[in-house]
Amino acid sequence: MRPDRTPLLLGAILAAVVAGGLALPQWLLFILTIACAQGLVVLGLNLLIRAGLVSFGQALFYCIGAYTAGGLSRAFGISDLFVQMAAGTATAALAAFVLGFLLARYRGIFFGLLSLALSMIFYGLIVKSETLGSTDGFNLAKATLLGVRPGEAWVRYAVLVAAASVTLAAVFLAWRFLRTPLGQLGPAIKDNEIRVEYMGASVRYAIHVNYVIAAALAGAGGALAATTVGHIDPEMAYWTTSGEFVFIAVLSGTGSVVAPFLGALIFGAIHTVAFDLSPNTWQMSMGLVLLAAIVFLPDGLWSLFTRRKTA
């Protein structure tokens, strides 16, 4: 078996972002940062999908992360990206730890529907809470990094480099997790969870752990997106946001920890191009891409690379 070169790949990507980011236009830096945020969410989603669980409510944790960042910015004036992401991760993980006791009992379509219901409850809550800006949401202050406020020309580049560093560190940790015995249980649970129990592993525990990690990643992604966009609203918890994440997950496939970021980038690119060409039919293009992905690339974009290597 070939050695897994993922850490090298991650290092190379970071180097490429740091060097290449200098040459890229501002709007592309923005798209790359958003791709980081979405990729983090989808990376978590993929952990669950490996175990055969598709969450249609991952936007819940995305939104929790975003509102945590927003709350820090608004109530305490803390606009440090690292603090915000850490806090978003923590609150989302805490919420998932509690909810996990319930959700770890569910499989298949019921897991999806229950997670959908939970995210809609949260949506219903923040839509009606006027202190949080109701349906309009509210704006966040510009990001600072470790106490430094980057100049206007540099802020996007600095945020991207910071985001990419945190993101790639998270990806590395996820990669490490997948190599532990607990991490490797995922596909086994999908295949046949009764046999997993016979082996002496607790399926419920494994799912709970995966669920919390997935939520933590989504929380980090939400906080990052909140600061990058500079605005948050309840739509972030709506089911269509969850739908987008599942879309990117399908597009990426579960073949690699890097795949979600490729998927998110391509999602962003298609979104931007389609919206640019025809603002009224971009959803249609997205739908067609999703259909094509399901029909022609059932294992996601990543299967393009692995297929070539085995040939």
Binding site: G108, I109, L113, L114, K128, V250, Q283, G287, I294
Partner: protein, 298 residues
Amino acid sequence: MSQIGPVLVDGVIYSAWLFIAAVGLTLVYGVMKILNVTHGSFYALGAYAGASLTGAWLVKGYPPMLSYAVLLGGALLATLAVAPAIERGLLRFMYAKDEVVILLVTYALFLIIEDAIKLVWGVNPYFVAEPYALLGSFEVGGLKYPTYNLILVGLALALAAGLAWVLRGTRVGKLLSAVIHDPEMSRALGVNVDRFYLVTFTLGCFLAALGGSFTSPTVSVVPGLGVDVIVLSFAVVVIGGLGSLPGAALGAVIVGLVRSLSVHYLPQVELFVIYSVMALVLAFRPRGLFGLAEPRKI
């Protein structure tokens, strides 16, 4: 408690609307095991077809009383133009795939139809209120209600009775339950399973379109109309039990009354309450109030 009358009336009206909007979803899931996201698209299609046809009908000066038939025709037309094509052209190749994958396929179709609607009808709102105002109004507890709402209630009851009769009392219904329990065996015994799937899917979508078209006189028909309906119908059928007809009715009544109560007494929690009920039901009875247990596969 002088409000109890209006609360009940609102609850019943909203329940009727929910039942019409959601029953097709449970039908399609019960027979085909497809959680059909395009259900919301058909709701929107029905609303657009209903609103534009009725609008044209009234502009031409035809008898306004017949506009209800036009609403019905609009829903039928919109469904027949799209639903069979989707089932024959795409979904039938997916039946072997996982439930979740099929759900994603319908999600993709939902995105496509959402924009197709904008291409056909544009992005400006349609507003045809005549059928709503035509029948006058009645009064409960000092509040006026358009009589049109009674049509919704009647339609919901007729649908429930009609579906129950077809499923329980006719040969087709019995064949359908055979198809539900064991499609392969039914096929072996000479049942045309493909046709059952085609008809069920079309019927389910038609019911969604009917819901949309009969709602169109009460709202302004705008893009994105179907998005909310999808999760709302999900909530209704999940509460009752996916695939169960009495479940859909019960779910509609529960959500209808809960919403009406919250709107009258505590409007801040409206959305929150509906999905909390859904989550609570899932937490204690994952298969819904009327859902049947399914054996675990080894």
